[in-house]
Amino acid sequence: MSAIGELSSMTRRKGPMTKEEKKANGRDNKAAYVFLLPWLLGLAVITVGPMLMSLYLSFTDYNLLQPPEWVGLDNFVRMFGDARLHNSLRVTFTYVLVGVPLQLAVALVIALVLDKGLRGLPFYRSIFYLPSLLGGSVAVAILWKQIFGTTGLVNQVLAMIGIEGPGWISDPNTALGSIILLHVWTFGSPMIIFLAGLRQIPVMYYEAAKVDGATTLQQFWRITLPMLSPIIFFNLVLQIIGSFQSFTQAFIVSGGNGGPSDSTMFFTLYLYQKGFGQFDMGYASAMAWFLLVIIGVFTAINFIASKYWVFYDD
């Protein structure tokens, strides 16, 4: 079961203790906490502690040099009137709302084509998967900067058929699109998850449908899609959470400034500039918590909406 499946089943199952849990009244607390020690320490020092600390800092003015000064809701009020921040939200939302569905759609289509014992599957799978391993690297961002540049590979190819392309990443209208394309390019990992999901759909469903005379399209809508919906949901939640935090590609392609004219200024990039460029740590903390709330809201909407379209077999 996936991490998300596990989480949602934890909230669903509220019955009495299972037999196994009852039997284990002889607990091994001492041993367990010894084994958990590194994790507990990390939870306290690396995760929860800093989370609380950043919540506190979000109500302060802090530049690392002077001690934090309590300013109440000032940072949040400032965010409300910060036009660059609003722009960065717009850029990030566009990236997530266009990039994620597009990437998942490509992943699903290719997984469907690859499924059903196609000859050469391992080879194709490797080819499609490789970019998602490399896509997060600085090296590939550098490559992207070149191929979508004014004299880059894309425009060289376009010139061969007589089209003079724009400078994709130097034009504010197309810069974000080039980075979205980079995200779509890394469809390999959701594709592999889809392939694993397709494997688990019992073949007898299709056989029964065929006996009843269902067309391929009907089989897709009535069997594949519902049976795959938990996997689609899982991919959707994970990709949305991940995409909101995307940073490296926009940073490298834009040379660190989110340009041209802030068209690739992701929320995380702006946060980085505020926190680690200007050492406005209070404001950066407030932004980080705002990001957490946004991601939380999106995930919650996803979970609520899933009741209407995700089909659980059990």
Partner: protein, 310 residues
Amino acid sequence: MTKLQTLPAASGGPAEKSGKNPRRRESRGSLAFSRSARVKGLIKHAILIVVGGVMIYPLLWMVISSLRPNDLIFREPGLWLNNLEMSNYTDGWSALTHPFGHYMINSAIVVLGSIVGNLVSCSMAAYAFARLQFTGKKLFFGIMLLTIMLPFHVVIVPQYILFSQIGWVNTFWPLIVPKLLATDAFFVFLMVQFIRGIPKDLDEAARIDGAGHPRIFLRVILPLMVPALATTTIFTFIWTWNDFFGALIYLTDPDMFTVPVALRAFVDSQSATSWGSLFAMSIVSLLPVFLVFLFGQRFLIKGIATTGIK
């Protein structure tokens, strides 16, 4: 078949079925030997070859371009090579304050530390979650799952303050210590899933023989979860090798640069004329990831299919 594939929990969910399914699928495929099926197959291959070709082309072109004189990068979209030009590699290697190998060694140190950290700390936590009964287990397990999805940015500011106060900026510790403390919860989850698939009788037998938990963990569980450890190793390698954000924040001294920040410094320092050497070093930086991909692919694919990691 690897052990990873035969253990039900490792493939998640109704995995018991998946062992049989591929075989059944094949038989379904061979039934349909009609002409239309063959045409359909051809169309599928055509789609896959075109899509795959478009996807891989930029990477191939980067490799070829790195072996060409610089000016050709801006006017030669093809893949043919007249003669091998190695100067991009020699120029790129020594373009920064240190030879590029210096940054690769730095990266290797961080990667090695992270791998050891993840293997030790995550497997210990996973053993507790999968096999031991303790107060607060459900709560902690839920928290662990939630931290998988926690955005890094929420903790980065105070983490930076903490590490800078103990003087760890421009050391590798801020990049390695969190791994020693099992903060990559994804791997904890991956290993929990795996251990759940190991028959409990083995533990029981060891317990009857008088073994305590440390012994059962070291002698029974660890040797059986090698595939999960391999998956963890490979993913940790790739993610740490590619990690840019952490290195960007904690490593500002060129002596300490890892490969991604060194490349970034390279991009910033060069004008548009030296794309060749930039490409060359980019390829050098991707090579280890590519090799790991080549040899560890089955663990990677099994790994993401299991937990849905990126």
